[in-house]
Symmetry: C2
Subunit: 267 residues, 2 copies
């Protein structure tokens, strides 16, 4: 079994050093709890609610962020997945990486952009990467990507044991007592494709935007191994998962999550 | 608004006349409750747990079943979706129809077969049909089909306002207090594609097989308009839905359930 953690963080747009400290603390706390893989939220260095594109350009400093994660991964001997604001020249991407103590193992640019993000970011053009790590095969995608089951399917078909999803889930109305639909979608995608899913979400207030507080861990059957707190407080959500169990795609004695699909008919 | 009903029935394998009576009673009760569209479970005439293929061949009498539904639809002025055992010569299919008082509007053969069904049934080869009815555009698929989001996508892309799913969900262990993963998948599929989903399930005991009691109605946002009882008793689950609202695929002010998809990247 591998202990997995999803960090639910309160971040402040613009306070890059403070946000990085919050991420490093979460990594340290996770390691102290015996965690082998820890996931941080989307855009966890810059914050999310930019005033405009220029502000995002000014804040983006991806080299420092990634260097800090590699250092922390080395110091605490964990695998880290984190969302950050990437910049190459004048091009911004809403990105995520998988890192360990040896460096950046995989990098991904969010493809499905939400809300005003298309005014700031260039969408990615390649599927979720899947990378071998010391704890298992880790796939990565970002927030709204997780709401397209086809995208999770690509990560699962690429061999992911676990899909790590840095997110910023804005709070919206939902019926009393029900799980947010974002969580429901994460559960369903895990079950459709037999892959564990780890979601790192936000809490706090980002220029008036509130967040779900939905950090959670879904096992490959689709059930919640760690329920989201759904409150407005930082949290480190953990669960012990048999990551390699996701390689067995049988469903009962006579069905198979891959073999039962009919892509020839899906158009 | 249109009142929709999902019938949760206790059926007995082999008692075709009794099972048909249960279906007719559900249709009558739905009509008395002001329902415009009522859905009956999978294989609601023959029952599900056949001893072997020969028993299914002997029990299948689709002409009588469909005639009964058309009569009931005419008498009670409702649209009926029902699952039944179809037979053409020696070929059996796990099928469903949409009927109104004028006759059979659409017919469908289950494509994704569960468990021992492949020993009995020939799988279908065509996507869920979508048909205009007096209450709106109705798509239909059967049970395990609903666990393939691509299949719901085809119904939604085909113009369905509501996807009707006759099912027989076998009872399995689940974590205390959690919704069955089959319900979670129905919710997610509704939300991914912005289509209402109505599930008619079983209760009772079919030669030792128990059922979830999961009849439920999901609105196009993915939230439950009518929660499943999850108990072992017949029920008529109803909800009032704005069916045509499913034609609006916008998500918030800047996103779109169809426009945001990237099929060019889904492989």
């Amino acid at each position: 079994m591998t202990r997995i953690a999803a960090a639910q963080l309160s971040l402040t747009v613009g306070d890059v050093p403070g946000n990085r400290r919050s991420g490093r603390e979460a990594i340290a706390n996770a390691a102290a709890a015996g965690v082998g893989l820890v996931v941080l939220p989307e855009l966890s260095d810059t914050g999310y609610v930019f005033a405009d594109r220029d502000e995002a350009v000014a804040l983006a400093d991806p080299g420092q962020t990634l260097e800090g994660w590699v250092e922390a991964a080395r110091e605490f001997d964990v695998v880290v997945v984190g969302g950050y604001c990437d910049r190459a020249g004048d091009t911004l991407t809403n990105s995520a990486v998988v890192v360990d103590g040896t460096g950046v193992l995989a990098r991904y640019d969010k493809v499905h952009l939400w809300g005003r993000e298309s005014e700031v970011f260039t969408p990615g053009t390649t599927p979720p990467p899947v990378v071998d790590t010391g704890v298992g095969r880790v796939g990565v995608l970002v927030c709204y990507d997780l709401e397209f089951p086809e995208w999770v399917r690509l990560a699962a078909d690429g061999g992911a044991d676990v899909v790590a999803a840095p997110v910023n889930w804005p709070l919206a109305d939902r019926p009393e007592g029900e799980l947010p639909i974002e969580v429901v979608k994460a559960q369903a995608a895990a079950a459709y494709y037999g892959v564990h899913v780890v979601v790192a979400d936000r809490c706090g207030d980002d220029r008036g935007t509130r967040w779900i507080g939905g950090a959670c861990i879904v096992d490959r059957t689709g059930y919640l191994a760690a329920r989201p707190s759904l409150d407005d407080a930082p949290a480190l959500v953990t669960a012990d998962l048999d990551l390699a169990a996701a390689r067995d795609k049988r469903l009962g004695s006579r069905n198979h999550l891959v073999g039962d699909r009919r892509p020839d008919l899906y158009g």
